[in-house]
Amino acid sequence: MDDALPTELAADLDGAYERLVIAHQDRLFSIALRLLGDPRDAEEVAQDALVRAYRALATYDAVRIRSLALRPWLAAIVVNLSRNRGRRRKLATVRLDVPSALDATPLTARLAAPDTSGSPHAAALRRESAHDWAALLATLPPRLRVPVVLRHVDGLSYAEMATALGRPEGTLKAQVHRGLAQLRAAAESSSLPDLEVMTA
């Protein structure tokens, strides 16, 4: 899809732009959400990124648009906007506290279990697990969080990440590895109280 899209955008920006939005909105929203933590902020930033992309494309000539790698280009826009917003608010921060601390299930038990069965209980567990992982992610410093999100939430290749972030691939691999290790350590040493295990 991404192969044809730049050509279509170069030929008819207004006609093809909606396809760009549909194709990339989920990933841009997910990146922003995992960098910022707040869904409203994430929606605003994702929209802003898509609008800026439109305005930029409107000034590019056809040759430049056709040679664009849309995935890393859009990722770079949303990362920069998230960074600016985080800086302005000073709170791309941790919200480990409220729901998890009151929760009785040991964090590691929830974190470890991507139960794929279709039961409502399993779905609830997955939601809890996602909530906890998102909170852990927020504890990573941005220098590590950004590469981890782009690699493992968004699924960019290291080559694409190098384009998006302007860092060498080797550096990014090291940062992702360090980020994952810190996440695992944080999950394992999580100091949430082991109260009574509530299992169904």
Binding site: F29, V51, A187, E188
Partner: protein, 269 residues
């Protein structure tokens, strides 16, 4: 206490992959509206009753009256063709700016989306925006002011196609003989009502027109004006002098008012 199992890095990766989520359903439509590839609309209360207003990130695109939502949507699609979505209400800033404009505040910042219109049409509409609240100018005045004194009929056509009536006050443009003329947003009766709501007396304007009085002068200042000009309305009856043409005014030694520029109306063919 339960023993905590060690976590494998691949589990961490799997958990992170599960953090990709769908965007909210509002994101795509809001984005398309923001760049001007789609519009939203709502109704708002005005001196002529409820009107439909459509807008996008570039500005207001349509003001219209319609029976109901379906009728408005159908007309919008025919005239503009972009996707259209019902909104609960106008954004507050937009509603406030429209209200200020309708109340006569021409400084209210109100962006308009006039894409796809000709240079001539835009020039006509922007000139109409300069006409003060509660005053009227003839079609010929607009034609002369935009440097196309022979294009009086084309000015009338452009005003009839005004996509944002009320906001661009085409109701303040009248026939060159001084009669009120037609109005795209509901006909001559509506035009009278709007002008009356702006403090003008349409009956008085029309009786001047029927008496072939085009200009009013003051024998103290020796200045002549269009009849609805704020300055003309301040001339007391004992000092008011009526003229049927600009030439007659100038022959009598009067000069044109610099505010309403009645000589522009006279220059048009």
């Amino acid at each position: 206490m339960t023993a905590r199992p060690a976590i494998d890095l691949t589990e961490v990766e799997a958990a992170l992959a599960a953090l990709a989520v769908p965007a909210p359903a509002t994101l795509a439509p809001a984005t398309l509206t923001s760049v001007g590839l789609a519009d939203e609309y709502a109704t708002m209360v005005t001196p002529v009753g409820d009107v439909y207003v459509a807008w996008n990130g570039l500005g207001i695109s349509t003001v219209d009256r319609a029976e109901d939502d379906a009728a408005f949507e159908q007309r919008f699609r025919r005239m503009i063709g972009r996707p259209l979505r019902r909104a609960v209400a106008l954004p507050e800033a937009l509603a406030r700016a429209i209200g200020q404009r309708l109340a006569g505040d021409r400084r209210a910042n109100l962006p308009l989306d006039l894409r796809g219109r000709s240079e001539f049409e835009r020039a006509v509409w922007l000139k109409a925006l300069e006409i003060p609240h509660g005053e009227v100018r003839p079609y010929g005045w607009i034609a002369a002011e935009i440097g196309r004194p022979r294009a009086v009929r084309a000015v009338g056509t452009a005003l009839a196609h005004n996509p944002v009536p009320l906001v661009v006050p085409c109701h303040r443009v009248v026939r060159s003989d001084g009669l009120l003329g037609n109005y795209s947003l509901g006909g001559p009766g509506v035009k009278r009502d709007i002008l009356a709501s702006e403090g003008l007396d349409p009956g008085e304007l029309e009786s001047l027109a029927r008496a072939r009085i085009r200009y009013l002068g003051s024998d103290t200042t020796r200045i002549y004006c269009l009849p609805s000009c704020h300055q003309a309305r301040r001339i007391t009856a004992s000092h008011r002098v009526a003229f049927s043409s600009a030439r007659a005014s100038e022959a009598a030694g009067y000069r044109a008012c610099r505010r309403c520029r009645p000589d522009s109306a006279a220059r048009a063919a």
